[in-house]
């Protein structure tokens, strides 16, 4: 299940998520729909990948250990790759958190609240990044 297996080489979706099980599920769901997926297990790793290549879109968890969280990823994109700002989907485990609420409200970035159904993920990805 690599990029070369795809009939038409297309830009991959970058999934930044520290929780392996969630990352695995998102990747499985997307790949089954024909999306190419590149994974990063932390915000810092995600930003490294973003710097090197271009992606069809970015899906990032908000709360992650380490220096870089979802809000930082959002901020980095807005600053360094503004064209990607509208191609970001955030994942949140706790939307009641006031910081999260503030981030979502101010950036108007779509957000998936954990736990979420596969259908919801796919529909939001298609709507935001387009079909594969």
């Amino acid at each position: 299940m690599t990029a070369t297996a795809m009939p038409r080489p297309a830009a991959a979706i970058l999934v930044i998520e520290d929780e392996p099980s969630v990352r695995a599920f998102v990747r499985a769901a997307l790949e089954r729909r024909g999306y190419k997926v590149v994974q990063a297990s932390s915000g810092a790793a995600g930003l490294q990948l973003l710097e090197r290549g271009s992606f069809a879109g970015v899906i990032s968890d908000i709360r992650m250990p380490g220096n870089i969280n979802g809000a930082d990823v959002h901020e980095w994109i807005r600053t360094n790759q503004p064209q990607m700002a509208s191609r970001l989907i955030l994942i949140s485990g706790d939307t009641a958190n006031s910081e999260t609420q503030h981030l979502l409200a101010s950036s108007e970035t779509p957000c998936l609240e954990k736990p979420f159904r596969v259908q919801k993920l796919i529909s939001m990805v298609e709507k935001t990044f387009g079909k594969p």
Partner: protein, 774 residues
């Protein structure tokens, strides 16, 4: 003599100038001369008068003659021939005749005896009637010569009587004078120019142990040993002989004399006399000395002053007290103006003395020499003259500055304590060791207790029954001298409600160090206790919130994977039907878990999702409508007491509706459980800065109002609820900046839930609008 029964004075025989020629035998002139000689030699009047009467009788051929002398109211009769008057009657008659004041001769015939009695008055040179010459003889008529003789005899008698009287008077007064001089206890010595003693009085002679006469003619210097005065003159008592008067004090051999000297100048040198009076004033001097010593050594200030308050004499203590160098300085006339801080103070003192005569414990503030103030207490008495005018004031003065300062310090301390006692927010009571209240501070009365229900009553009566034992124990401990601090117990307030009190008991000891009183400080900490409970609750809820939030987040990750993979499995068309059913259950329970976590997150939420003006009354009406079918079909009455024009609050209408619905559901469930005829009162009102909604039901009430908002605390049977409903309400209301409370109704069934959220203000509304527009 012959008997004469009666004398008739009816008709006095005419005194005629008839001659009595048959008596030439008398040579009246010669006989009168003899009388004069006799009179001159006679110093004893009665004897002379008796002789005079005899001679008169002879000269006038009378059978009897007498001289009546008027001595006061009496008449003394002098005669040589007794026999007349013979009886009382005659004596009385004679007495009357002798007292007659008619001038000249009067003759009365005597009945039966054919005798005549003649009276001739004797007048003194000043015209005073001194007596009467009286004759009894046969012949009624008196010749002119005889009458002249009578007049001459009467004037002779008068002269003699006057002379003798004057002489005896002189004798008497001289004698009296000597006696008077002798009676004087002071020593008197008179000497002449030749320094010879002329006279001494008896006191002096007695002192010397000799008769007074023995000293006469002796040199005055012989009296030197009486009192050694150091005089160089021959007289030990003379100092300056040129002075008419001298007075000085001489001390000799332990005795002190006041020597007063007078000098009389006679016509000749020889007649000049010097009179010394020596007064032994030893005792008086000693008394004076003692008095002065006392006056000066006494520690209290003493003074003599004029009625106007000007000092006349002061003692050392007073001088010291007022800070002066000497008494002289203090006696200066201008001192009193400085002494009294105000002229009015002095005037008040002066008039008080004039009015009352004496002042006891009169308090006066005086100014010392250096200007410092001296608080004095004075006892003053006035000395008055015969007319009652105050002539002097005398007084004793005490320096009470220290006492005054001590007193005012004491007063200050008392005031301070009183202020503390009366302004403290704690109730302070004093009990005796039996627990009876003897004092309560003002705070007790401000709190509504009445004096008559405190004083004399046992404080324990106010303590709630279950706490009385604790209180009695504490009282015992204190009575044994141990302090008890911060005993917390419930007690009845003045209005009958129970309050939470913190009580401290301290022992108060008497002079013998025995505990005789207990001071009780009671503080109503009900509000504080409530606040503390509220804070503890809020803190607990916040802790739970943080915990829940953390758990929810952690649970959401695995939940996301479970849900996601379940979805992916279900997408697999190769999945057998049985497995698909199982997967559906997993999916279902995962959904349920998701909801629980979502609820938990709602509880922990810190801000409402929306912030817009919400009409609470409108939200309530909508909420009631949601349940109106259930309420009416189960006979639950809902009454709405909504305040018109209630201020809006800022928040999320949806969430608030969730809160109200939850409370209503709870009320409904409680009513159903109780079986009562259901009644729910919903009341809204503005409560200070909040909008308040109260729900009062008559259901079963709440088992534990304290814990009702805790997550998973439920009394409902399993499956009927997660136990998060009210926790979510709590979270929402908190997120709105409000509070939610619950208690069981007092005195009736059911419970009351109160939701308070801040009323929107212009500022908060403007801020919300701005926020929404971002």
């Amino acid at each position: 003599m012959r008997e004469r029964k009666s004398i008739s004075a009816r008709r006095p025989a005419a005194v005629s100038g008839r001659k009595n020629p048959g008596r030439p035998k008398h040579d009246y002139s010669k006989e009168l001369m003899e009388l004069v000689v006799e009179a001159a030699n006679s110093r004893v009047l009665p004897e002379f008068l008796r002789g005079f009467a005899e001679r008169t009788a002879e000269m006038l051929d009378a059978e009897w003659a007498g001289v009546g002398e008027i001595v006061g109211s009496r008449v003394e009769i002098y005669t040589r021939r007794p026999g007349y008057p013979a009886n009382e009657k005659e004596r009385e008659w004679l007495g009357q005749g002798l007292r007659r004041r008619r001038p000249g001769l009067e003759v009365f015939p005597l009945k039966r005896t054919s005798q005549h009695i003649a009276f001739y008055p004797i007048y003194a040179s000043d015209g005073e009637l001194m007596g009467t010459l009286c004759l009894l003889r046969k012949a009624a008529g008196f010749s002119r010569a005889e009458e002249k003789l009578l007049a001459a005899l009467a004037s002779h008698a008068a002269l003699s009587m006057e002379k003798v009287r004057r002489f005896s008077q002189l004798e008497r007064s001289k004698k009296q004078w000597v006696e008077d001089i002798d009676a004087i206890s002071d020593y008197i010595a008179v000497h002449d120019q030749a320094w010879k003693i002329v006279r001494t009085n008896r006191s002096l002679a007695t002192e010397l142990g000799i008769p007074p006469a023995a000293l006469v003619g002796e040199p005055i210097s012989s009296l030197r040993h009486i009192a050694e005065t150091g005089s160089a003159l021959p007289c030990p008592f003379c100092r300056d002989t040129r002075e008419a008067r001298e007075e000085y004090i001489a001390t000799s051999a332990g005795r002190t004399f006041l020597v007063s000297t007078s000098r009389t100048r006679g016509v000749t040198e020889e007649e000049s006399r010097t009179i010394h009076v020596l007064k032994d004033i030893t005792d008086r001097r000693e008394a004076e000395r003692r008095y002065r010593e006392l006056f000066d050594s006494i520690q209290e200030g003493l003074f003599f002053a004029t009625p106007e308050g000007q000092f006349l004499d002061v003692n050392d203590a007073l001088v010291r007290m007022l800070g002066y160098e000497s008494a002289e300085e203090l006696l200066r006339a201008d001192v009193s103006a400085h002494l009294y801080p105000t002229p009015a103070a002095k005037a008040r003192l002066v008039s008080a003395i004039a009015e009352r005569g004496a002042l006891r414990n009169y308090e006066e503030t005086l100014r010392k020499k250096d200007g410092g103030l001296l608080h004095t207490m004075q006892n003053i008495s006035a000395v008055r003259d015969a007319l009652g005018q105050v002539v002097q004031i005398r007084g004793l003065m005490l320096d009470v500055t220290e006492q005054k300062m001590f007193q005012s310090q004491l007063q200050r301390e008392r005031d301070f304590n009183q202020k503390i006692l009366n302004t403290t927010q704690s109730m302070i009571l004093v009990l005796d060791t039996a627990g009876l209240i003897s004092y309560a501070n003002r705070r007790c009365y401000e709190a509504g207790y009445r004096k008559d229900e405190l004083i004399g009553h046992r404080l324990v009566e106010w303590v709630e029954g279950s706490h009385q034992k604790d209180f009695e124990a504490a009282l015992q401990t204190t009575a044994h001298g141990q302090q008890v601090d911060n005993l917390e117990l419930r007690a009845r307030r003045a209005d009958g409600s129970l309050g939470h009190f913190s009580i401290s008991l301290s022992p108060m000891r008497d002079e013998a160090n025995q505990v005789n009183n207990v001071v009780v400080v009671m503080t109503d900490i009900t509000d504080a206790a409530l606040l503390q409970a509220k804070l503890a609750h809020a803190e607990k809820m916040a802790t739970i919130g943080r915990l829940v939030s953390g758990v929810a987040h952690e649970v959401n990750n695995p939940l996301a994977a479970i849900l996601g993979f379940t979805d992916l499995l279900l997408e697999n068309p190769e999945m057998p039907a049985a497995a698909r059913e199982d997967l559906q259950i997993i999916l279902q329970e995962t959904q349920r878990t998701k909801e629980i976590v979502q609820d938990l997150l709602s509880f922990a939420r810190q801000r409402p999702t929306q912030k817009e003006p919400v009409n609470v009354n409108a939200v309530l009406r909508q909420t009631i409508k949601l349940r109106s079918y259930d309420f009416s079909s189960h006979g639950v009455e809902v009454s709405e007491e909504f305040e018109a024009n209630l201020s809006p609050t800022l928040g999320d209408a949806q969430q608030l509706q969730q809160v109200f619905l939850n409370i209503l559901n709870n009320a409904y469930d409680a009513i159903q459980e109780s079986g009562n005829h259901g009644r729910i009162r919903i009341r809204t009102r503005r409560a200070e800065d909040d909008v308040e909604v109260a729900f009062m039901d008559n259901g079963t009430g709440v088992v534990d109002p304290e814990r009702i908002f805790d997550p998973f605390f439920t009394t409902k049977q399993a499956g009927k609820g997660t136990g998060l409903g009210l926790s979510i309400c709590y979270g929402i209301v908190r997120a709105h900046g409000g509070e939610i409370l619950c208690w069981n109704n007092e005195g009736e069934s059911g419970s009351t839930f109160v939701v308070r959220v801040p009323a929107a203000t212009e500022t908060s509304l403007a801020a919300a609008v701005k926020e929404a527009g971002r």
